[in-house]
Subunit: 314 residues, 2 copies
C-alpha cells in the first residue's frame, strides 16, 4: 500500500567525530522516503528552492519515489547546519535557514489521493493537521514532532494528536510532552491525548511501542501493553543525522507493505518495529543519506536476522 | 548447582522520591543471594558486626541461604546512606561507614568448597581475586565492580579480570574501564582484558551480553556476537537500590540451576539474561529487599512471560 509523506527536504551541513560534509541532500522526508522505499511505494509532499536540481531529483527517482508533490519555489531550499562533536546522541544546531520552507503550504497532487498510509514528518503541527484533513480516506496516519512544537505550539500539537493513529517520538520528547519522567506514566499520558499507539525511540537502546488499552482494561492499574525492539550495537556511528526518520521509514514502510485488507496483524507490527531499527542502523553507518541510497532488500533482510538473533530467546 | 557469593552485607539508609527508610538490611551480597535463592542453593561469604542479630539472620535462613560464611566481627556492620532524589538512575552517596568491612578477610567454610559457581560481588578486587584463587575448582566465575576500583585500583582489577568468565557492569563502568564511548569498541576492549563474556546493564533499557570471539573470527571486522534482554517498563520505581545485584542474582541463579554437566547451552544463557531483568524489576518495586523477600517462583515465571511477550516477534 502506498505511503504519502509530508515533511522537509533540505540541505544539511554536518560535523561528527568521523568527519564532516557540506550542503548534502537531507531532511526528514528524504530520510523517511528513502528508508520506506525499500518496502512500498512512497510519495513526497515538500517544498524546495531553485538550488534543487535534476541531480537531487534523481536520488528520489532511483528509488521509485513519486516527487510530483515536491513543489519548486523561488529562493533557496531549507538549510540546517549541526554537529555531534560532544555527544553522538544529541545534535547541536549551529544554523537553521528556513528559506522557502517559511512559506510552505502543502499541496496534495491528485495522484496521491488514493494513498492508504500517511506519514506526517516533523513540521509545524498546523500544517501536519491540514494535510491530515485533506486526506480523510487514508487508513493509517502516523506522525513525528519535536521539542520546539511541544514547548511553544502545544495547543496546535494537541489538536493534531487527536487525529493520529501512531505517534513516533524519542524519550526526551515523550517526557516533555507528558510532563513526567516515568516511562509508563508518560506513555499513558500521551496515549490519553489521542494516538492509539506511541512509539518511543531510545537511540542506541532501540524503541518501545505502547498501546492504548480499551476502556475495560484502562481502569485497572495493570502493566501497560508494550513491545520493545532492540537496536544493533554498532562499531561506529558515522553520522546520527536522520536515524529517527529512517526508523520511521523502515517501520511505516514495512507496515504498509504487510498490511492486509483486514488491518494490521500484531506480528506485522512487531516486525515493523524491528525493520525500523534495521533502517536506523544503516542510516548512521555513513554520512547523510549515502547508506540509505545504496541498499538492497537482501542486505536489509540479512540485518533483520541479526536483530532477531540479538533478542531471540530460544 | 550451588553458588557461593562473596560481597557486602550492610545496612542502608535510603531516600527516594517515593519515601525513605533507615538502617535496613542490604548490601550487594544480600540482594544477590535473595534473588538467586529462588533458583538454586546459595552460600554467602561476608562480614557483619554485633548489630547483626537473629532477625537479620532469619532473612537469609527463610530462603535456605547458607550463612556459615558470614563472619561476626566486633564493631558495627557496613553502613551506606544514599539518595535518588534528582535522578532515579544514579545514587548520591551521603555517607559510607566501612566499619567491620574495613578489615574484611574472606574465609571460605569447608562446606562451601564444592560450590560450582562463584559470584564476586563489588568489593576490593584484591579480595575478589583471593576468593577466586581459594576456590580453584569452581566451574564458572562471575564478578561485578564499580567506578572506584576502575579508577583507583586498576592494576588489581585487571589482574582479577584475567580470571573471570563473566563480568557484569553498567554502561558507565564499561566506558570507564574501556576508555571509549562506543559500546562495541568498549565491549571488545573489556573482553580483551580476560572475561569470556561481558554483561552490560543498561538500567531501564535492559542489558546486553557480549561474547568473546574465537581467534579466527576476531581478526575479521565483523559484528560482535551479542544478546540483548529487555527491562520491563515499570509504573513506578520505588527504590533503585540493589537493582544491579538483583539482576546478577537472577541471572547467575538461573544459570546455575540450568547448567548441565556439559556446560551452559546458549538458550539457557539467554533465559538467564531475561531472569536477571525479572529479578531487577521486582527489586525496585518496593523499598530495600522487601520485594525480593516475599516472592514465589510462580510470580517470577509469570513476569518472565511478560518479558518474553515484550520482545517476542511472532
Amino acid at each position: 500500500m502506498a505511503i504519502t509523506v509530508v515533511g522537509s527536504v533540505a540541505y544539511d551541513s554536518v560535523e561528527t567525530p568521523a568527519g564532516k560534509y557540506d550542503r548534502r541532500l537531507a531532511g526528514a522526508a528524504t530520510y523517511f522516503a528513502l528508508a520506506a522505499s525499500y518496502f512500498t511505494d512512497v510519495r513526497v509532499i515538500a517544498v524546495v528552492g531553485d538550488d534543487f536540481g535534476p541531480e537531487q531529483e534523481a536520488v528520489f527517482k532511483a528509488h521509485g519515489i513519486d516527487t510530483r508533490g515536491i513543489e519548486r519555489a523561488a529562493g533557496k531550499t531549507f538549510f540546517w547546519q549541526g554537529s555531534y562533536l560532544d555527544n553522538l546522541n544529541e545534535a547541536r544546531t549551529h544554523r537553521t535557514d528556513l528559506n522557502v520552507f517559511a512559506g510552505f503550504e502543502p499541496k496534495i497532487p491528485d495522484a496521491y489521493r488514493d494513498s492508504d498510509f500517511l506519514f506526517l514528518a516533523n513540521i509545524d503541527p498546523v500544517l501536519q493537521r491540514r494535510v491530515r484533513e485533506a486526506m480523510p480516506d487514508v487508513r493509517l496516519v502516523a506522525g513525528d514532532t519535536m521539542n520546539y512544537w511541544i514547548k511553544d505550539h502545544r495547543a496546535a500539537l494537541l489538536e493534531l494528536l487527536k487525529g493520529l493513529d501512531i505517534l513516533l517520538i524519542n524519550d526526551t520528547e515523550t517526557r516533555m510532552l507528558a510532563g513526567t519522567n516515568n516511562p509508563v506514566k508518560a506513555a499513558r499520558a500521551v496515549l490519553a491525548m489521542g494516538p492509539k499507539t506511541l512509539v518511543v525511540k531510545h537511540g542506541e537502546y532501540g524503541a518501545t511501542a505502547f498501546f492504548a488499552q480499551d476502556a475495560a482494561n484502562a481502569s485497572q492499574r495493570s502493566t501497560i501493553r508494550a513491545f520493545r525492539a532492540p537496536a544493533l550495537p554498532l562499531d561506529e556511528v558515522v553520522d546520527p543525522t536522520g536515524a529517527g526518520d529512517s526508523f520511521a521509514g523502515g517501520f511505516f514502510g514495512y507496515l504498509a507493505s504487510s498490511a492486509a485488507a483486514g488491518g494490521i496483524r500484531p506480528a506485522a507490527f512487531r516486525h515493523a518495529m524491528f525493520y525500523g531499527g534495521v533502517m536506523g542502523s544503516f542510516a548512521v553507518e555513513r554520512f547523510g543519506t549515502e547508506r540509505l541510497q545504496g541498499l538492497s532488500r537482501e542486505e536489509i533482510d540479512e540485518r533483520f536476522l541479526l536483530f532477531r538473533e540479538l533478542t531471540h530467546l530460544e
